[in-house]
């Protein structure tokens, strides 16, 4: 842990606070200010993307806690988002719940479902556990499509009735943005605290050495379940926001593919790092858009017949390739790069 040169802590209280120096305070305030005025300048397209990224960050932070901190691989994050999404939709559409009431319910229901799929973690680890959570990805959509299709809409899409929040027109991305970004910042703050609290240490202890953790007085299983619950509550929150963001809900949005990519995002970002998770989400989401944007013009450079083939395959090809290259050249994730930059800044003006 390095602080800017010349900064010392004289009390333990100071040592454990997040924002320490005046410089850090001003950066934080400036950052928040930029976020607050962003919609005034940005296009709807940009805001849509920002919203998606912010929602994904929430979900990915949840997975970050479970996989990055606690070391339990989960391939069910998408499905847990789906649980949140459908709960919110049903509570609001059929029971007329207000958003503020439906949201915690959605989080809790996702949390409970996550907890259930976390139960096998009592005895299994690693990829066996990943597969147990994978089953969530099959069982949950099955339940959504088959058990009460009259409520969930089965395989088809159901529209959500937009709630009114503080008079914001939530069908507009720029208004939606304030709701989403509020939760994202809150989640980041809470996650940061959780990670450095007793709970966070327990999680990492379990990740690094669950046997020793048990012997050192940690109820390992309880904490694993707690981790699963928190993770899927985050997913539930993200899923709820997702419904508002899209305005509709369909099982196809919460596929295994999504879940695997959430895992991908936190790996690219750097496991166990909160800013890393954010970077990972941004990296993947932006790259996704970027390759979509550049492939048509590139395909246009080729003669017609080849061009058509290239058009369809180029964006996945580029996407895969960029990530591979990234992994090969930055295998420790974006968080590592970030640490290096921070390290450099903190040592400044004295270099190595």
């Amino acid at each position: 842990m390095w602080r800017p040169c010349g900064t010392f802590d004289d009390t333990y209280e100071k040592d454990i606070s997040i924002v320490r120096t005046p410089a850090q305070w001003s950066i934080t305030v400036a950052g928040l200010a930029v976020l607050a005025v962003l919609p005034l300048f940005a296009s709807g397209y940009f805001m849509t993307t920002v919203n998606l990224i912010a929602i994904s960050i929430i979900s990915a932070q949840g997975l970050g806690i479970l996989t990055g901190l606690t070391g339990q691989i989960s391939l069910g994050q998408g499905a847990f988002m789906g649980v949140g999404a459908y709960t919110l939709m049903m509570l609001m559409n059929y029971l007329g719940f207000s958003f503020w009431l439906a949201l915690p319910c959605a989080m809790v229901s996702a949390g409970i479902i996550g907890l259930i799929f976390g139960l096998p973690s009592l005895r299994i680890k690693g990829f066996y556990l990943a597969m147990a959570t994978l089953s969530a990805q099959f069982i949950i959509p099955w339940v959504i499509t088959n058990v009460r299709p009259d409520l969930t809409g089965g395989t088809s899409t159901i529209n959500i009735q937009y709630p009114s929040l503080f008079g914001l027109d939530l069908s507009k991305q720029s208004s939606m943005y304030y709701v989403i970004i509020f939760f994202t910042i809150a989640i980041l703050y809470l996650t940061r605290n959780l990670a450095r609290s007793k709970i966070g240490r327990a999680f990492v202890a379990i990740r690094d050495n669950d046997l020793a953790a048990e012997i050192m007085g940690l109820e390992v299983f309880r904490y694993k379940l707690l981790s699963f619950t928190i993770c899927s509550m985050y997913a539930g929150l993200a899923g709820s926001l997702w419904v508002l963001w899209v305005g509709a809900v369909n099982v196809d949005s919460f596929t295994l593919h999504e879940s695997i990519w959430f895992l991908g995002m936190i790996i690219v970002g750097g496991l166990g790092s909160i800013p890393g998770v954010c970077f990972g989400v941004i990296f993947i989401r932006v790259l996704e858009l970027f390759v979509q944007q550049i492939s048509p013009p590139i395909a246009a450079l080729f003669p017609d017949a080849i061009g058509a083939a290239i058009k369809s395959g180029l964006s996945p090809f580029t996407f895969g390739l960029v990530i591979l290259l990234f992994l090969i050249y930055e295998p420790r994730g974006l968080a590592h790069r970030w640490e290096i930059v921070k390290h450099f800044y903190r040592r400044w003006p004295f270099s190595y």
Partner: protein
């Protein structure tokens, strides 16, 4: 009044990804049609069409982002063509809210087109109903015909299973004896077919495309079952060519003239573009023609609207009123036939085919000619 430099229209959908083989050809179709409009018809009153194609690869989130991009661009596209899939479903509300015309798959009952949106063709239930009507008309035996349904377990596959359809079958005295659903990636349908076999149906109908019908027929063949098979638009060229022998004598209900009908002037025109732009056999599907239909519809309605109100007053409302006035409109000399009204946003005109030697030909019998027929109206109750 001042003419715009060009007229933007958009096509947005899952051109690659799980639905590629179905909806993918719509993009080349629209591209070719835009070329046709711009080069042969001189655009709309001299204004060229500009087509923006976006591929959402099967992800609703990406679709939403791309929609936001397109709707925010200037000039704003006046039309949004969105072929099928959950992406389309998710975008529907947004497009209806925004002041543009949406060209949509309205064939899934819950997504019946509303507001400024229009559907591609008849509802899937109606397509099946056309078959049922044909079957009944040509049924010789005393007892009721027995029909089994087997279809994909997702929105598209299930779209034919509406209460209106079942009512219609009852009314027509056709017994639905089995109803099986299967997954898109199921390797083996023997199980389903065995269950169907035990119900002893005369016909098996589906609302599938691509590998779906193929898997059904292959499983039947393996079990040594002789089944008569009927399918909706999905049973078009793109599917049949995967294994023409297997499809022999199947029935297919579609909204367009067949690619086999090479004497048809419209089909000829389409083929000249397929050839010119080096499209392969894979593009010869209903959705390629749908691309044409979309662009030609824009050409027609915008031209009419401009003629009426002029370029400066051209707006969505003006175009919409033209759309609602399309009656028995037959672009490309009748490759398709369209009627939209204020209330009914899907066209009822369909044709029924039989597959003979890998070709789509009229099945003969009563109501089995080569003309477009009007499907029974099975518009979902709540949208009437």
């Amino acid at each position: 009044a001042e003419k715009p430099a060009s007229l933007s229209i958009a096509l947005l959908g899952d051109l690659t990804g799980p639905y590629a083989s179905v909806v993918g050809p719509m993009a080349p179709g629209a591209e070719d049609a835009v070329q046709y409009v711009n080069e042969e018809l001189g655009g709309i009153d001299g204004v060229k069409l500009k087509l923006h194609v976006r591929d959402c690869t099967g992800k609703a989130a990406l679709g939403l982002q791309q929609y936001a991009e397109l709707i925010g661009s200037t000039p704003k596209p006046l039309f949004f063509g969105v072929p099928h899939t959950p992406t389309a479903e998710a975008l529907r509300e947004k497009i209806i809210r925004d002041d543009v015309i949406g060209f949509f798959p309205g064939s899934v009952p819950d997504l019946y087109p509303q507001g400024n949106s229009y559907s591609f063709y008849a509802l899937y239930a109606e397509q099946s109903a056309v078959f049922i009507r044909w079957l009944r008309a040509n049924w010789k035996e005393k007892r009721n015909p027995r029909v089994a349904i087997i279809t994909w377990d997702q929105a598209y596959g299930r779209a034919m299973l509406t209460p209106e359809f079942f009512d219609y079958c009852k009314k027509m005295k056709v017994d639905i004896v089995a109803q099986e659903l299967f997954g898109v990636r199921d390797l083996d349908l023997t199980t389903h077919m065995v269950r169907i076999r035990s119900k002893n149906p005369d016909w098996v109908i589906a609302n599938n495309t691509g590998s779906g019908p193929l898997a059904i027929l292959r499983a039947a063949k393996e079990l040594g079952m002789k089944i008569k098979f009927a399918n909706n638009v999905g049973g078009d060229w793109g599917t049949i060519r995967l294994d023409p022998e297997l499809f022999e004598d199947s029935i297919s209900v579609m909204h367009m003239a067949s690619f086999d009908n090479t004497d048809h002037p419209g089909i000829k025109k389409v083929f000249s573009y397929l050839k010119k732009n080096k499209r392969g056999i894979k593009e010869q599907t209903a959705f390629y023609v749908l691309g044409w239909q979309y662009v030609l519809m824009i050409h027609k309605t915008v031209s009419d609207a401009v003629a009426k109100v002029g370029w400066d007053k051209l707006n969505t409302a003006a175009i919409k009123s033209e759309m609602n006035n399309l009656t028995n409109w037959e672009p490309l000399d009748g490759v398709v036939k369209i009627t939209y009204t204020d209330k009914v946003r899907h066209s009822h005109w369909l044709r029924i085919y039989k597959i003979k030697g890998g070709k789509l030909v009229p099945p003969g019998g009563k109501l089995g000619g080569s003309e477009f027929v009007e499907a029974p109206d099975l518009t979902p109750l709540k949208f009437r």
